[in-house]
Symmetry: C2
Subunit: 134 residues, 2 copies
């Protein structure tokens, strides 16, 4: 019998979702490939792109554009307003920060819909979290 078009659960698809959930930051397709490869050795770049496309259409993934860089992707629940990019490592992070009345402070004629900070510099490694009973 012919089935309706439905999505299947695969190791690869689960791995892609897992690494995005754990990263909590925007990942490039290449970063996703490297991280997913730990869970599913041999996973191919086409699988990454294929699932990015599908997940974005489903609304499970959201894209993040960065100046002069390929797009990154993040789970919507991890998305924040502003961006920080460590240009050495290519690691991108998002963060929130209130900029009160920022839209009203723009020059005449600039009616902004979105306003985000884009910062570049160096990311210091956060102190290791102590595990309970660790």
């Amino acid at each position: 019998m012919k089935q309706a078009n439905t999505f299947r659960e695969t190791k690869q698809r689960n791995a892609i979702h897992t690494i995005l959930d754990e990263a909590k930051r925007p990942l490039s397709p290449q970063e996703m490939l490297a991280l997913a490869d730990v869970h599913v050795p041999g996973i191919g770049i086409a699988t990454i792109y294929r699932n990015i496309k599908i997940m974005v259409e489903q609304g499970v993934l959201s894209s993040v554009d960065i100046p002069g860089e390929p797009s990154r992707f993040i789970l919507p629940q991890h998305r924040k307003t502003h961006l920080f990019l460590d240009k050495e490592s290519g690691v991108a992070m998002m963060f929130d920060l209130d900029l009160p009345g920022i839209k009203r402070r723009l020059p005449r004629g600039m009616k902004a819909q979105d306003v985000t900070l884009f910062c570049t510099g160096t990311l210091q490694a956060p102190p290791k979290k102590k595990k309970a009973k660790g």
Copy 2:
């Protein structure tokens, strides 16, 4: 006698500089082609890219990266800190705006070298300037 490697003055090169000087905003190579073509009909895209490269090396031009867009270029004397992009028209503008102590307000671990606002929305046409005796 063999000449030292020197730069020559051409219609094309002058036109490229002129349009950048008049625009006072970041232009994409395609925008530059269209605008320069008014001054020098038939100018080719290769000439645009060639001169962009040369002028950037000379420090006469400075590049401006925009998320999800090809690079724009601006004369250094027109460069400002922040960016506004009209996504409809593709027109980019720069502006200054003080964000006091912004670097100190970033989350722990983010040591920023550069902090710029990136705004998208709609650009309203500025009111026409009246010329003296106009």
